[in-house]
């Protein structure tokens, strides 16, 4: 692997507070120097990145790669290629595959497929319970031993308070977060969109905000009770943001993520029965969207995560009630964040990089999220000003289920580097 120099870019590294024009030197897969007028090692590829941003590669805490078992929607190869195209150098893969990732050999399979795919890194998330059935704990120790970085029954909320309590307690030995899809199942049962005036107009069954908030409150209380780290997935309501704010003020071991669609769209997007606006948690009200944006600014919400959820075209080309929940997100997350959060005046560019890279790495104890010398060279180079139009036919993902088709977004990914190796070059 040849050394590389990224010369003259705006280097933003929230891990050190750096935000200045500088060169980044990469050798043997690691960052070896950041600063002005760095010399190029012998035989280095030197890239002039003047006017571009050089930042630690983005890290997604919430990706559905669908392999094994649902390869018609996505594979580890296509999903990590989509990640690289979106500026992500690492993704945490959710375990709700078929079969679920609930044992060490299943984790090993994901690790092996990811190594073969050779695009973004994959950090598997193991299941909380065997078969994600919500009954018996999975073997966290063996999951972690095989490479899992967290546990989650995502897709199936942990309904039992006792199971969640035990999971939080047991996870402490391994210092991993328990990531929960917060949804009280009886309140959410049968719901297909946010419960509010739009669901009333459309005659669709709603999922009330309180279905999420009740479980956020439960999880916060259990985190306090057990001392275990709970990570709250895809927060969507203003009530949840307020609960997390209070939990953090109380110093509880609670972290949270939010998805780009929840700070970009409201339930009005469902008005034409567009199944690409159907996801869980659902798109909420304007006040919720504003609360998510504010939460990302003040740090109540730690991280931006995609909840990248590929579905086959046929599955979404159906009646709204029958279409599956979820949208792809890896290839639009940076563009939506730059457009709506940075250009929208909610976050500075360094704050955004922190929410998409440095903080995700820290809260899941992952390598990356830094450009400090000696660390693996996971780097994204992007043009924050360049505008592009979302064209689903150009997605690397196998699926195209997005409500953002045709949107004009800021921020074109120019180069994605994983361990010193370029895995994506933008055209």
């Amino acid at each position: 692997m040849k050394p590389m120099v990224l010369r003259g870019g705006r280097v933003i590294d929230p891990s050190s507070g750096r935000d200045e024009v500088a060169d980044v030197v990469i050798r043997d897969g690691r960052i070896v120097g950041v600063g002005r007028n760095q010399g190029a090692p012998d035989g280095a590829d030197v890239h002039d990145v003047t006017g571009l941003v050089v930042a630690p590669g983005l890290i997604d805490l919430h990706t559905h790669l669908r392999e094994p078992g649902q390869e018609d929607r996505e594979t580890i190869a296509t999903g990590t290629a989509a990640a690289a195209a979106g500026g992500f150098t690492a993704v945490c893969s959710m375990p709700n595959t078929d079969p679920p990732i609930d044992n060490q050999s299943a984790v090993g399979f994901v690790v092996k497929q990811a190594a073969a795919a050779g695009a973004a890194r994959v950090y598997p998330i193991g299941a909380v319970s065997l078969g994600q059935k919500g009954e018996q704990l999975a073997e966290f120790g063996e999951l972690v031993g095989a490479g899992a970085v967290a546990v989650s029954d995502d897709g199936h909320p942990v309904a039992s308070g006792q199971l969640m309590r035990t999971a939080l307690e047991y996870a402490r030995a391994f210092e991993i977060p328990v990531a929960d899809h917060c949804e009280e199942p009886t309140l959410a049962a049968g719901g297909v969109m946010h419960e509010g005036v739009v669901s009333t107009r459309l005659g669709l069954k709603g999922i009330p905000s309180v279905a999420e908030e009740i479980m956020v409150a439960r999880n916060i209380l259990l985190a306090g009770h057990t001392g275990g780290h709970v990570h709250l997935c895809h927060m969507s309501t203003r009530g949840s943001v307020e609960l997390i704010r209070r939990a953090k003020e109380a110093g509880l071991p609670v972290t949270a993520e939010a998805c780009p669609h929840h700070f970009s769209l409201t339930h009005e997007a469902c008005a034409g029965y567009d199944t690409n606006a159907k996801m869980n948690p659902p798109l909420r009200e304007p006040e919720d969207m504003e609360a998510i944006r504010r939460g990302l600014r003040d740090g109540t919400i730690d991280a931006i995560a995609t909840d990248h959820a590929p579905h086959h075209y046929d599955a979404k080309e159906r009646e709204f009630d029958d279409a599956p929940m979820g949208i792809v997100g890896l290839e639009t997350a940076l563009g939506l964040s730059l457009t709506l959060l940075v250009e929208g005046g909610h976050l500075t560019l360094p704050q955004l990089i922190a929410r998409m890279s440095t903080v995700p790495a820290r809260i899941f104890h992952l390598p990356g999220g830094t450009l400090a010398a000696g660390h693996p060279a996971d780097v994204v180079v992007f043009d924050p000003a360049a505008r592009w139009t979302v064209d689903v036919t150009r997605f690397r993902s196998k699926s195209r289920n997005t409500p953002f088709a045709g949107w004009e977004l800021a921020g074109r990914v120019v180069r994605t580097i994983v361990g010193g190796r370029t895995v994506f070059v933008g055209v």
């Binding site: 419960e195 509010g196 005036v197 739009v198 669901s199 009333t200 107009r201 459309l202 005659g203 669709l204 069954k205 709603g206 009330p208 034409g272 029965y273 046929d314 080309e317 159906r318 009646e319 709204f320 009630d321 029958d322």
Partner: protein, 322 residues
């Protein structure tokens, strides 16, 4: 004005007051066709219409079929249980096959909200929504409006309360939109467990108690309480529902004015409505059924390209639509 309603009739929410009035006015001459010995005019001769019913329906399907036959259209009835749908065909494939058979219109009843729109966006034929999930049932809304107009002489300014299970009712939604657009005051009354969230944001008042609704209203539109709602736990029992929310003769006798009682049918006598009310002088329930055919004839006629001003001529047997 070549297409006064556009291609489809999917709901009353997207229609203007003028379009709704146009349908009601067009229905007037068609009422008379059904009173004749030979109940047929040649207006839609040569048109092919498919009645595509994914949910069982007696009243609406028969009403549409009579409307189509009295306009001389060729009709085919498809019920989901004996169609390719039962073999797992998707709605989109059903739509494409219908399109390939070059039919002119589809009347669709489906259990999923938005299904009529889904079909309309994928085929060139006119689509008429005969009830989609909990969304809309526009021809029911129209026939209720026509009935109120017949009996009160106007819709504007009338006070209409829709009673019962608003949460699951497409009839309620179509009535709310139609009544509000024509200038009525609209209220709903039922247990809060059967009122959808944010309903007041549509511009309706909520009455917690049926006595208050009866004191306020000129018209009660009493919805059918589906028995499965009790099993799903929305109300404790039908017996208690009748005691607390039933439209009974005793309650009506305390009303300050004569009320008009509508019901979209089929009725649960002794649940949402007292038989003495259903069969009594306030009830216009059978008038609604008669108006249903006329309103559906008007919708079919207008969507087929018929000129509103020629509906009278069409009634007399000349081919006003051509």
């Amino acid at each position: 004005m070549t297409e006064p309603l556009g291609k489809d009739l999917l709901g009353l929410e997207p229609l203007s007051a003028e379009q709704i009035r146009l349908i009601l006015d067009t229905a007037e001459p068609f009422k008379e066709v059904s009173e004749r010995a030979i109940k047929k005019v040649p207006t839609l001769r040569g048109k092919t219409i498919v009645n595509l019913f994914f949910e069982s329906s007696t009243r609406t399907r028969i009403s549409f079929e009579f409307a189509e036959k009295r306009l001389s259209a060729d009709t085919v009835n498809v019920a989901a249980q004996d169609s390719s749908v039962s073999k797992g065909e998707t709605l989109v494939d059903t739509a494409r096959n219908l399109e390939a058979m070059r039919i002119d219109m589809v009347v669709i009843r489906h259990g999923a909200s938005g299904a009529a729109r889904f079909l309309a966006e994928r085929i060139q034929s006119n689509v008429i929504n005969a009830g989609d999930g909990k969304h809309e049932h526009p021809t029911q809304g129209l026939l209720d409006l026509l009935t109120i107009r017949d009996k009160l002489g106007r819709v504007r300014g009338s006070k209409v309360c829709i009673c019962g299970d608003i949460l699951h009712s497409r009839v309620a939604r179509s009535n709310i939109w139609g009544l509000l657009k024509l200038g009525a005051e609209v209220a709903v009354c039922g247990p809060y467990s059967l009122l959808p969230r944010g309903i007041e944001e549509l511009g309706v008042t909520i009455f917690r108690r049926i006595e208050e609704a009866i004191e306020w209203a000129d018209v009660l539109n009493v919805l059918r309480l589906q028995l499965e709602r009790m099993n799903a736990g929305f109300i404790p029992s039908l017996r208690e529902y009748y005691r607390v929310f039933g439209v009974t003769l005793e309650r009506l006798e305390r009303a300050p004015r004569e009320l008009l009682i509508l019901h979209p049918g089929p009725m649960n006598r002794g649940v949402e409505i007292d038989s003495r009310v259903a069969d009594g002088p306030h009830s216009v329930i059978l008038h609604q059924v008669t108006n249903g055919v006329a309103v559906r004839m008007a919708v079919l006629y207008l969507l087929a390209g018929g000129r509103p001003e020629q509906a009278e001529a069409a009634k007399r047997g000349r081919e006003g639509a051509e």
